[in-house]
């Protein structure tokens, strides 16, 4: 889509991200829920049992502050929680404990390229339960099954100003935000539904439409594109845009009306009386500020300075994700030449991962085995050409390159064995030998090619050349 002109729109995002605490926001149930049976990581608190009371997770508050600091927001000295009241089957109490009047942080910004996107507020709240709509989607299912394992997982909500001007910019903003959160160690991008977005979209200063509950970057771009085009064609047909909330269906890529704005529930916020106010002291905030992890931009610069790689390489490594840059640095500990590591990582490893459609963490690629590949090239076990071939198998299978070479018998032939092959080729191609001797030096290339074909990738081209020339001289 490089050349296409972005469609102009006014977009504000509300981003919900699951914070990677070990326990839930208001109870001690585990947040490691991806592989659990339904309703097995629940207690009377997250199930909204009568008589239960919430108790706030310190770590979630600290994570929220860290995010606020990274976004240059003003951290509030005293925060409180509120009850946001609305009835819905995914809400165990039919209210959500969130922050209303006093969020954790206000203001701030994030640069996307050279465009500044303002941050309105950052606050923490509890995730609702997960609904399974049986026999249809949200609008036509026969019944609903409820799994409360997710209920109470801590979320941070980051609200932007309506500063985003295109769907592409929205995507870039989210990518950058996600990368920052990952670097802050507050968020695990691999978790199921760990990033969810509500988007407010309007065009030409028209009415604002809210698209709810979009999961993941790709869907955000899809949903926003659909919505902008939908609004554009409505306007072109002379129709007016209605203020409403729309639901995005990831399967069909289509948004549809959920409710009109005037049908919205009045949230009737009150202070959450079961929780105390929390002081975010100078000491606490200062301490977190002092121990802020390295942010992506800082990391890109450091890799350039420390490892002597190009800015282009560093950019790719860091932007691929925190795990990739940690992988890179680990490789540099194991292998002496950091530039070679970067070359091979950026050019071949990433290409193979992309080809397999795998992320680094989904693959079994590890620094120890990746550097093994480089070492085997250095010590002459395999040729560069073979290494480029081998990396595909390596990424696919996760097996150590050394093992792959052994299994497939791919190691370079010892010079003695190679000399025998050369001898055979030379004696079988008398015409080429004659040509060479009569001054057609190009005939040597033909012979080299024949040898290489016969041994496949088990010989370095330079060695073969030397041996062929030696044989031609000797004969």
């Amino acid at each position: 889509m490089g050349g296409r002109k972005p469609v102009k729109a006014t977009i504000g995002l509300e981003i919900h991200v699951q914070l990677n605490t070990e326990s839930k926001l208001f109870c001690s149930c585990t947040t490691e829920i991806d592989d659990l049976e339904p309703n097995t990581a629940v207690c009377p608190i997250c199930l909204g049992y009568p008589g239960s009371k919430p108790k706030l997770n310190r770590k979630a508050v600290e994570h929220g502050i860290t995010i606020g600091i990274a976004l240059e927001s003003r951290i509030k000295p005293v925060i409180r929680f509120s009850r946001k009241n609305y009835f819905y089957p995914d809400m165990s109490k039919n209210y959500q404990i969130t922050q209303y009047e006093v969020p954790l942080a206000e203001g701030g910004y994030l640069m996307v390229g050279d465009h500044r996107v303002g941050i309105t507020r950052v606050h923490i709240e509890e995730d609702p339960a997960k609904l399974v709509h049986v026999g249809g989607g949200i609008t036509n299912a026969r019944e609903t099954l409820i799994d409360y394992n997710r209920a109470g997982v801590p979320l941070v909500e980051i609200v932007t100003e309506p500063d985003i001007e295109s769907t592409e910019e929205a995507r870039d903003f989210l990518k950058k935000l996600s990368l920052i959160l990952e670097h802050l160690r507050v968020y695990d991008p691999s978790g199921e539904g760990s990033l969810r977005v509500d988007a407010n979209v309007s065009i030409d200063g028209g009415n604002r439409v809210e698209v709810k509950n979009i999961t993941g970057f790709r869907n955000v771009e899809k949903a926003l594109n659909y919505e902008v085009v939908r609004q554009r064609s409505a306007v072109n047909m002379g129709l007016s845009i209605v203020r409403e909330t729309r639901h995005f269906d990831a399967e069909t890529g289509v948004t549809s009306t959920l409710r009109l704005k005037e049908q919205e529930e009045d949230y009737g916020y009150i202070a959450e009386p079961d929780l105390t106010q929390i002081h975010l002291s100078e000491e606490l905030v200062g301490g977190l500020r002092a121990s802020m992890p390295e942010l992506p931009d800082q990391r890109i610069q450091r890799l350039v300075d420390q490892y002597g790689i190009t800015r282009f390489q560093s950019d790719i490594i860091v932007n691929t994700g925190l795990r990739m840059s940690i992988f890179y640095e680990k490789c540099c500990e194991l292998y002496p030449d950091s530039k070679t590591v970067a070359n091979w990582l950026v050019t071949y490893l990433l290409k193979s991962l992309n080809y397999e459609g795998m992320s680094l963490e989904e693959s079994s690629v590890a620094p120890e085995t990746f550097t093994e590949l480089l070492t085997m090239m250095d010590d002459g076990t395999i040729s560069e050409r073979l290494a480029k071939e081998l990396i595909k198998d390596y990424v696919k299978t996760g097996k150590s390159p050394r093992k792959l070479v052994e299994e497939k018998n791919l190691a370079l032939l010892p010079v003695d064995e190679l000399r025998v092959v050369v001898g055979e080729v030379v004696s079988e191609n008398q015409k080429a030998v004659d040509d060479y001797r009569s001054g057609k030096t190009k005939a040597a290339e033909y012979l080299i090619g024949q040898v290489l074909r016969r041994v496949r990738a088990r010989a370095a081209a330079n060695t073969v050349r030397e041996l062929v020339l030696e044989a031609l001289k000797g004969n």
């Binding site: 009568p50 008589g51 239960s52 165990s92 039919n94 916020y269 009150i270 079961d274």
Partner: protein, 435 residues
């Protein structure tokens, strides 16, 4: 005869229980030998706990409230659940589909509420018994006064609320009732103190409240707003005669004023209803309590359960509470009430600079008859709490101690003290008891 069997006999006559424990377990500790009854809104593991509401019928809590765990640890036998107004919404213990208790001094009269069952059994038990009860706006003091027992409401946060089915969380206090100040003090000593499950509990050390002795030169404040208009003159006479006796024993009576008293009632009801209306949202026919065949969309199903499960007063309070926190009205009602609450607290703080306790009638009248109650409009029900809501709104401790009769019905003297001054307050109550 064991006390479970005896309690069941008495219940036949007075209707104070909603559920009995299967059996009585007892152990060693400060409550050894005592049977403890529990207001129905305090969860007891394995015993149906409804908070007096049909919407929680069949709900068997999977855990003990902290106060119950503490009682068990001190050797108490848990008897079962005492009846109450639905979720504590009432002053006469008539707002419930379950048992409506009868006043032991006159079965045609109310026990008071909302902890009516607790006061009733405390009055009639002829075995060692103590009651766990609960107050939001006067639900311990009122029935204690009308049934002639001692009822103690501690400072907000003195006792853990973990396991208490919420009415209004910023006002709810679990407290105690007993036949004597000393017995009530014993149970309060056991249940007070920190708890990791309640964020709003105070960690101030708990004294042994049973160490009771005379307070030298007790300074008793007499708030003018709690006497005169609206107070039955015979009730007031009984109170004054007690105060005079106290004075003759060396106490000093000091006139004080709590100028915002008049506004406490509205402030209290607005805050209580706003919080209550959100607390009751969770009752929607999923997970526990009343559950019907699931049909229709969620709005239809939730509405069906709530319409069926809530009584008239609950519906009224949920609607009023919803109103007071609606966008557009929230500042004028909910937030305003929270600010007026600050003024009410300041009144008390100011008064306690000069006095140890404040003394007033607990209730403006003696227990009314059921036929009289039927004639009352909802607002007149609320007005009945005029003397108890202010200290409840301020979260200060209070005790109603029997101090004589009027029309042959018990009258309670209400003693109120500054935050966390339970010990002084109980010593003053003990003094009154021994007059």
């Amino acid at each position: 005869m064991n006390s479970l069997k005896r309690a069941k006999e008495l219940d036949q006559e007075y209707h104070f229980m909603n559920a009995f424990a299967d059996s009585l377990d007892s152990g060693e500790g400060r409550l050894k030998g005592y049977t403890v009854s529990v207001k129905d809104n305090v969860c007891v593991k394995g015993v149906q706990s409804t908070a007096g509401s049909k919407v929680l019928e069949g709900y068997v809590p999977p855990f003990d409230a902290t106060v119950i765990a503490k009682c068990r640890a001190e050797g108490a036998s848990i008897l079962g659940k005492t009846t109450q107004d639905e979720f504590g919404f009432g002053t006469f213990n008539v707002n419930t589909p379950f048992n409506k208790p009868l006043n032991p001094h006159d079965p045609e009269r109310s026990t008071g509420g909302s902890s009516g069952g607790a006061a009733c059994i405390t009055a009639v038990a002829d075995f060692p018994h103590l009651a766990i009860s609960e107050s939001t706006g006067g639900s311990i003091s009122c029935p204690a006064s009308w049934c002639g027992v001692v009822g103690v409401t501690p400072t907000y946060g003195r006792v853990s609320r973990w396991g208490l089915i919420d009415y209004a969380n910023s006002l709810d206090k679990i407290g105690v009732m007993g036949k004597t100040v000393k017995e009530a003090a014993l149970l309060l000593s056991v249940i007070s103190g920190p708890d990791k499950y309640d964020s709003t509990v105070l960690d101030t050390p708990v004294p042994d409240y049973t160490e009771l002795e005379s307070v030298e030169e007790l300074k008793v404040g007499v708030p003018k707003e709690y006497y005169g208009e609206g107070i039955n003159s015979d009730v007031e006479k009984t109170i004054w005669s007690t105060l005079k006796k106290l004075e003759s024993k060396g106490a000093k009576l000091i006139d004080v004023s709590l100028p915002h008293t008049k506004y406490a009632l509205s402030s209290y009801y607005i805050i209580a209803m706003a919080e209550a209306s959100t607390n009751l949202s969770k009752f929607s026919g999923l997970r526990y309590g009343l559950q019907e065949h699931i049909e229709g969309d969620f709005n239809q199903y939730f509405s069906k359960i709530r319409t069926l499960g809530f009584g008239d007063e609950s519906k009224r309070r949920v609607m009023l509470g919803t109103f007071t926190r609606m966008a557009g009205y929230r500042d004028a009602y909910y937030l305003k009430a929270l600010k007026v609450r600050t003024k009410v607290i300041e009144d008390f703080k100011h008064a306690f600079e000069a006095v140890d306790v404040l003394a007033a009638p607990t209730m403006p009248v003696v227990a009314p008859r059921f036929d009289e109650i039927e004639e009352l409009e909802p607002i007149q029900h609320y007005m009945m709490d005029i003397l108890t809501v202010a200290p409840n709104l301020a979260g200060i401790p209070m005790v109603s101690v029997p101090c004589g009769t009027s029309e042959d019905m018990p009258v309670g003297l209400h003693l109120m003290a500054d935050h966390l001054q339970e010990h002084t307050m109980l010593r003053a109550a003990w003094e009154v008891e021994n007059l």
